[in-house]
């Protein structure tokens, strides 16, 4: 395959996004169907209200942190496309961070570039920023947190973690694997954690040190015994302080409107309208009466169990764990909208260099099944919403198939993954506890 430099790729992606933003403005002005996401108008209106000293929550359906509206205030006095440029810049930043993270882990340049292309040229991702959706900002923060951890900047990671959980609740699911990773075997005073190189993914742990290999079970046991470590405590304090400070400030400024719209709405959201979730029809059929505690617990149980098991098995391979957790979280959630897919799309390139999955045919099967199940759902949704046919049952079956496709992808991803902890284990004194035998020949 001809080589593509990352710089050219990056510049081309940036220019393409600028073109899409300009095209979007043209389409909005000249065509009935607008290119811009309806959410962007919500953000802009909320930002305009904030700029004039009012509450952004006077704008109905604005259910985000006031920080988003704050970031978009220049929409009202600079240009209405400011927000789109900001989100697209975040989108490009995600690409940059993916490349940096892979380079830090010793992935060869070519593989780095191809993995990054999976993000930069994914039609889903380059439209989401240019249409004015704010998810790229969240994705860039998640990757920045990962990079801070990799560089040993725990306190910085904690600050950004508190900030991102304030802006979007879902990253709270990353708390436990991050805390597990802040083990004294990885982080020692005065020393950066040592990353496991990509080239060692083909290696077995050396037999000389096999007796000292620490399994995930041992990590969890160590965690339970030595739960309270300086880094874990500081991570918890700083991230919690950041979260509560921002939440408290927002509450002070905007009162219960903020709390209800930006936090409680997302925590308690059960939308009976059709969406990708298997629960939508079940919720609609029971919307006239409240769900019992037992029913709520039963519907929460699969998601809870999956999250717990994935963390317990894969926490040390943090990027892989975060990807699986996010994909599973979205798949089992009570409400699934297309913008949630970006949450795991930004983590996918981080695991590809460690995946044994062959594009032909297993990889293609995953892609075709996932896109096919989505397309099937969209077809029934079109018949319901735009043709007025009563196809609720068929649409619900389509959502079951979509969950099946997601499960298939998760299972195949796990099966094909070359497990590689993010950090090497260190002995007291900073020496490596677990070494790796190099193969006689490099695979690439």
């Amino acid at each position: 395959m001809p080589g593509i430099s990352f710089q050219s790729l990056f510049i081309f992606s940036a220019l393409f996004r600028v073109f899409l933003i300009i095209y979007g403005e043209w389409q909005d002005a000249n065509m009935e169907v607008r290119y811009t996401d309806i959410d962007y108008f919500v953000f802009s209106d909320a930002a305009t209200l904030m700029a004039s000293g009012k509450s952004p929550y006077e704008r109905s359906t604005y259910c985000y942190s006031p920080l988003i509206a704050f970031l978009l205030m220049p929409n009202s006095f600079l240009h209405q496309t400011w927000g789109k440029f900001l989100f697209s810049a975040s989108d490009l930043l995600v690409g940059l961070l993916i490349h940096r993270i892979l380079k830090l882990r010793g992935v060869p340049e070519k593989l780095c570039t191809y993995s990054t292309m999976v993000w930069l040229f994914n039609p889903f991702t380059f439209t989401i920023g240019t249409r004015g959706n704010c998810e790229p900002i969240i994705c860039s923060m998640i990757l920045w947190i990962l990079m801070c951890l990799m560089n040993g900047h725990v306190l910085q990671a904690a600050f950004w973690y508190g900030l991102v959980v304030h802006m979007r609740i879902y990253p709270i699911i990353y708390a436990l694997p991050i805390v597990l990773l802040l083990d004294p075997q990885h982080f020692q005073p005065g020393k950066k954690p040592v990353l496991v190189e990509w080239s060692s993914r083909a290696l077995k742990p050396s037999s000389a040190t096999s007796s000292s290999k620490t399994s995930i079970t041992q990590y969890i046991w160590n965690f339970c015994i030595n739960m309270i470590t300086w880094r874990r405590v500081m991570f918890g304090i700083i991230s919690a302080s950041t979260f509560f400070f921002l939440t408290g400030l927002s509450f002070h400024l905007y009162g219960w409107d903020f709390l209800h719209e930006a936090l409680l709405y997302h925590l308690t959201r059960t939308d009976p309208r059709h969406n990708f979730s298997i629960y939508f029809y079940h919720i609609y059929l029971h919307y006239e009466h409240e769900f019992s505690i037992l029913e709520k617990l039963i519907s929460f149980l699969p998601q809870f169990i999956v999250q717990l098991v994935l963390i317990s098995r894969f926490a040390l391979d943090l990027p892989f764990c975060l990807f699986l957790q996010t994909l599973a979280f979205v798949a089992f959630n009570k409400v699934i909208t297309a913008q949630y897919f970006v949450w795991f799309f930004c983590l996918l390139p981080l695991i590809l260099p460690w995946s044994n999955i062959k594009l032909v045919w297993k990889g293609l099967a995953c892609i075709i099944l996932w896109i096919g199940a989505q397309t099937n759902w969209l077809a029934w949704a079109y018949l319901l919403e735009f043709r007025g046919k009563n196809v609720f049952f068929q649409l619900w079956v389509a959502s079951l198939l979509f969950l099946a496709a997601n499960t298939f992808v998760i299972i195949n991803t796990i099966c094909s993954h070359l497990y590689s902890p993010l950090f090497q284990q260190l002995k007291q004194g900073g020496k490596l506890k677990q070494g790796y035998e190099r193969p006689t020949a490099e695979p690439l």
Partner: protein
């Protein structure tokens, strides 16, 4: 005897005084009542702009006093609470206003997003043409939406920006997400200018076409489809007077003599969830989620990290 007389005389005086006092109290009360009535009517006039004039939106005043849309109350509001003084203000002795000649209504489109189309034909006397243009007259249509459909206020604003309407607003329940059994009704108010271009097409009539985009809420559960019926719109003619700036006067244009609606009420069939599905759907949903979760759990536990012997991927 004399003492008794004195007592009687005193008793009479006291009774007289008591009666006088009662009369005075009665007079004061009546005065206060009249005063309060005057104040109330003044305040009422103030909330409708100024006495005899209508504010920017007719429907806004209704929702300032009522929490939800109830048809008899809205009828009463139109009949008694809106100052319909257009004729008086124009000082037209005969009060000749355009009359409604025809009103044709239909629901256009398919699915959950449709347009409520109204084609309104007015007849007017040619002498009225100059006044209609000079006083920036407009037709205001208030559409009382049935429970089960709603209008997106931001979508309407977009249409106003594109010049489709001169103004538009939604009052009442504007929550876009709730199903119909958890939401209240709303009213859409559309303003359409009567321009000279519109009036020049015909000698004695003009036509207004209005398409209001509407969206269906999730209806209550049923057997397949839920039927939503539309009533007649309320039409007003409102004009601004240059002398008085933004003050507008309105007249009501009755539609109940138009036979189009009486023939067949306008209806929209919206697909609804089928109650009989509840048991099966809930059981399979829970089981499917549990089975998928268990598959992932089992595989995660079976996964070994001893993949070092596998041939890694090559480019």
């Amino acid at each position: 005897m004399r003492g008794t007389l004195i007592v009687s005389a005193h008793g009479s005086d006291e009774q007289m005084e008591a009666r006088l006092l009662l009369v005075r109290i009665n007079s004061v009360l009546q005065f206060v009542l009249i005063f309060l009535t005057i104040i109330r009517s003044y305040v009422h006039a103030s909330t409708t702009g100024q006495a005899g004039y209508v504010d920017k939106y007719i429907t806004k005043t209704y929702f300032e006093k009522h929490d939800s849309l109830i048809d008899p109350e809205f009828d009463n509001f139109i009949a008694n609470e809106i100052p319909l003084t257009l004729c008086k203000v124009l000082e037209d002795g005969n009060c000749v206003l355009p009359t409604l000649s025809n009103l044709h209504r239909s629901v256009i489109g398919e699915g959950s997003h449709r347009h409520l189309s109204s084609s309104i034909i007015f007849k007017f006397q040619p002498e009225l043409k100059i006044k209609l243009v000079a006083h920036s007259c407009e037709v205001i249509m208030t559409e009382r939406l049935p429970s089960g459909v709603f209008a997106d206020p931001f979508e309407l604003q977009h249409l106003v920006q594109r010049g489709v309407f001169s103004d538009a607003a939604v009052f009442g329940d504007t929550n876009l997400e709730l199903p119909s059994f958890r939401s209240n009704r709303s009213v859409v108010e559309i303003h359409m200018s009567i321009g000279s271009k519109m009036l020049s097409r015909h000698h004695d009539k003009f036509e207004i076409n209005c398409e209001v985009p509407l969206h269906a809420r999730y209806p209550p559960l049923g057997l397949g489809f839920s039927r939503v019926e539309f009533g007649q719109p309320d039409l007003f003619m409102c004009c601004s007077l240059e002398v008085n700036g933004f003050k507008r006067s309105c007249a009501y244009l009755p539609t109940n003599n138009i036979s189009d609606y009486k023939a067949s009420p306008l209806a929209w069939e919206i697909p609804c969830g089928i109650r009989e599905h509840a048991g099966v759907v809930s059981a399979i949903t829970y089981c499917f989620a549990l089975v998928s979760a268990l598959l992932i759990v089992v595989l995660s536990f079976c996964y070994t990290d001893n993949k070092g012997s596998s041939k890694p991927k090559s480019l």
